[in-house]
């Protein structure tokens, strides 16, 4: 139990690494940075393995409950100062633990985040070897690992939100790693701002949950949600889950908030692999899967999730068909695959969605790292139009990427086949009817996926060399620090799918079985009896797994993968300089729309950011800014000026009153009267001394006469 009881060490280890980089990184040698930053992640990985193993034995003895380790109350108090009234009228404390929860769901995330994270850390030591800001890069990576592990291991929504914001911050920092490049800092801002929109949804959803359930711990919320006291379709739960999904669609790049992810490719390639493919962007999937008890109570939300997922999948895949930047193709592929995951969640196949997250983490990380290796070999060139014929020159990269492509395209027995096929099958069987359309979209997406991935492979590794002689001269295989992670990930891409080997092919679908306690099929049965079984539990459909339809669908998806491969092979196998894009040849209008990403960024510029004017009027945020500015300068300042004007007028009146009435009559009046009255008397005083003397003498004479002659 030593690992399980000290599970808080798993996020703490990378935090220590990040702290060391923050305080001392500048002074450290690269080798020391490697030892510290890679070391802590390796330790975290080993620790995580130990914890998961111990959990599995512990869970067997404890009815497969989640394991909770609460360190202390992190937010709120026990004194009742932050109490509030829930919707039910009960008192509840607004509290969040610094608590960690391990169950099969977080175990899976824990393992692939630390595992893939570790490989990418090792890869980065090679990829970033010649870059400036080495310690900064690794400090950010470690900080990211800390945040991501906090997100995964939190036992309540608030702490999850801390990790959620932390990964957002690290994403921002790492996308803007080359901050001297305007495009990179713009992309970082975009990622951060778009994510904030989602985060606002997450926060609101969280408040709804706190208000409705009186707690933010998963255990409490899930227990209440599964207690059967809530109606299916409860409007508040629907609102809460929809808001949570807004958060998820921000972080996991779903329509309409996906726009930041392709731009996030401005960051260094290992970052794209770690954050924007394998781990962080699956946080939304994690959150929805974590809230599955709520989502099954809200069929509307489930529909929204499924539809948004399916639309995102095909939307991003269609853009990916024509992109020329190797990383952008992969970025749109990531968005598309995330769409698949949400499609799975939305049709109630939580385990299938999580399984796809798991396999996707390996092959997409591998694809990105392989792309990084290609870019490394091509001296920084990212445009596939200037590549070609690299397979003999960087063979390890070629083989590993090829395996990853087979995996993502869904060629058996590679990992992607099992997870994607499971999703399509679950979509097909979920509700029937209109849900078959979602299957159709997923199927088309699978076809597109195979096409654009093999297009990438052919343009990069096959076809004619199209690079300059200068670049061609420098092509070299990457160092072993980069190729070894590629090989490990390739092995995982090959074998990870076997964990979910389905019943129909003679397996036992161990992956889904492992997750059963999380998605609580046993407890959900109560609700199943009330109807809407298809929404609730993927497990109910296990029994149908052996139907011939499933084999047919499986065959169809393999066929789609092969067809995509063949088409790509036909169009790009011999691509030479100035090769023609088949879509361009068929319809330039479609091609340009796809190449310009359906003009979504431009549309957002018109409507949401207001960077461009729409018919003379500025809309969106900048429009709001202009309107506020106008309001401020006209209404507020007008009111201020009016107040000033009124003051001035009253002051003028007051001043006039003071000057003429108070001073004029009150103050100056008496002196004027005194002056007028004094006028006759002062005539006697005219200043001639001799006159005074004369008067005096006359008076004297007068007195004398008076006394003498009276």
């Amino acid at each position: 139990m030593v690992f399980l009881n000290n599970i808080w060490l798993i996020p703490l280890l990378p935090a220590i690494g990040a702290g060391i980089m923050f305080f001392f990184g500048r002074r450290l040698q690269k080798s020391t940075v490697n030892a510290v930053c890679v070391g802590v992640v390796v330790l975290a990985f080993l620790f995580a393995c130990g914890a998961v193993l111990q959990y599995n034995t512990w869970a067997d003895a404890n009815n497969h409950q989640p394991f909770q380790k609460i360190l202390y109350t992190w937010l709120g108090t026990d004194t009742g100062h932050m109490n509030y009234i829930t919707k039910g009228g009960a008192q509840a404390a607004f509290q969040a633990d610094a608590g960690f929860l391990l169950d099969p769901l977080s175990s899976i995330w824990l393992l692939f985040v630390t595992g893939v994270g570790m490989l990418i850390h090792i890869y980065s030591t090679g990829y970033m070897a010649h870059e400036g800001g080495y310690y900064r890069f690794f400090g950010y990576l470690n900080l990211f690992m800390f945040s991501m592990l906090t997100l995964i291991l939190a036992n309540n929504y608030v702490l999850m939100f801390v990790g959620w914001e932390g990964v957002g911050l690290c994403s921002y920092l790492l996308i803007g790693f080359y901050f001297h490049r305007k495009s990179a800092s713009d992309a970082a801002n975009k990622a951060f701002i778009v994510n904030r929109i989602g985060d606002a949804g997450f926060l609101l959803g969280m408040f709804f949950i706190a208000w409705y359930f009186g707690s933010l711990r998963y255990v409490d919320v899930n227990h209440l949600a599964r207690s059967g006291q809530f109606q299916i379709g409860d409007p508040i739960i629907t609102a809460a889950t929809l808001l949570l999904f807004v958060g998820a669609s921000g972080k996991s790049a779903q329509l309409p908030l996906y726009v930041w992810l392709p731009d996030a490719m401005e960051g260094p390639t290992p970052v794209s692999a770690l954050i924007h493919a394998a781990t962080m962007v699956t946080a939304g999937v994690y959150m929805v899967a974590r809230s599955n008890a709520l989502f099954v109570l809200a069929p509307t939300s489930m529909k929204v999730v499924a539809i948004v997922g399916a639309l995102t999948a095909i939307f991003a895949a269609s853009i990916g068909l024509v992109q020329n930047d190797i990383k952008r193709v992969l970025a749109y592929s990531t968005v598309s695959q995330l769409g698949y995951m949400f499609l799975a969640l939305g049709v109630g196949a939580f385990a299938a969605g999580v399984f796809h997250v798991f396999t996707h983490a390996f092959f997409k990380a591998l694809l990105f790292l392989g792309a990084g290796s290609v870019i490394h070999a091509m001296s920084g060139e990212q445009n596939m139009r200037n590549m070609g014929d690299l397979r003999g020159r960087i063979p390890t990269t070629y083989w590993t990427m090829f395996i990853a492509t087979l995996a993502i395209a869904g060629i058996p027995p590679f990992a992607g086949f099992f997870s994607k096929d499971e999703i399509l099958w679950q979509t097909w069987t979920s509700e029937g009817g209109a849900y078959r359309i979602l299957w159709g979209i997923g199927y088309l997406t699978a076809l597109m996926t195979a096409f654009y991935m093999f297009r990438l492979i052919y343009l990069t590794f096959f076809s004619k060399p199209r690079m300059s002689h200068e670049v061609e001269h420098h092509i070299h295989e990457s160092p072993s620090s980069m190729t070894v992670p590629l090989i490990v990930l390739a092995v995982m891409s090959l074998f990870a799918g076997f964990l979910g080997w389905p019943h129909s092919l003679g397996g036992s679908d161990r992956f889904a079985r492992y997750l059963d306690p999380v998605f609580a099929r046993g407890e959900a049965k109560v609700l199943v009896e009330e109807g809407r079984a298809g929404q609730l539990a993927a497990g109910e459909k296990e029994e149908e797994h052996t139907s011939p339809v499933e084999y047919a669908l499986m065959g169809l998806s393999v066929l789609a993968a092969i067809a995509g491969w063949m088409a790509a092979s036909r169009f790009y196998r011999e691509a030479d300089k100035g090769y023609a894009e088949p879509i361009d040849a068929a319809s330039p209008a479609v091609y340009n729309t796809l190449l310009n990403k359906y003009y979504v960024d431009e549309g957002y510029d018109y409507i949401f950011t207001g960077r461009k004017k729409l018919g003379g009027a500025r809309l969106g945020v900048m429009g709001l800014g202009e309107a506020s500015s106008w309001f401020d300068s006209h209404i507020i300042d007008g009111a201020v000026n009016a107040a000033g004007w009124i003051t001035r007028v009253t002051a003028t009146i007051s001043s006039w009153w003071d000057k003429w009435i108070i001073d004029g009559i009150g103050v100056n009046g008496p002196p004027i009267v005194a002056r007028m009255l004094s006028y006759p008397t002062r005539l006697f005083e005219w200043g001639l001394v001799q006159w005074y003397a004369l008067v005096m003498t006359a008076g004297l004479v007068g007195f004398v006469f008076y006394y003498v002659y009276r």
Partner: protein, 111 residues
Amino acid sequence: MDAMLNISTLHYLVLGAALFLLGIIGVLTRRNVVIVLMSIELILNAVNLNLVAFSRYWQSIHGPNALHGQIFAIFVITDAAAEAAVGLGILIAFFRNKETVNVDEVNLLKW
């Protein structure tokens, strides 16, 4: 000797009154401050004359030791000297300001 004996107190008083009148006329009519001051001296001396005349008359009644009037006259002379000194001092300050010694050109002493 007879003629001397016939000079009575009344004569002195008449002379004093005449002097006093001259002084008054001088003070009231002359413009020059110096002359005004001199006229004031005349008035004072008229008074002195009266004092001395009454002192002499007083001696004839109370004996030779009744000298109050004469002592008083000496005081008046002293006072006149002081007054002249102050007056001339004012006069000089006055001249410095106005460049004149005409009393009618200084009419600030009003209101």
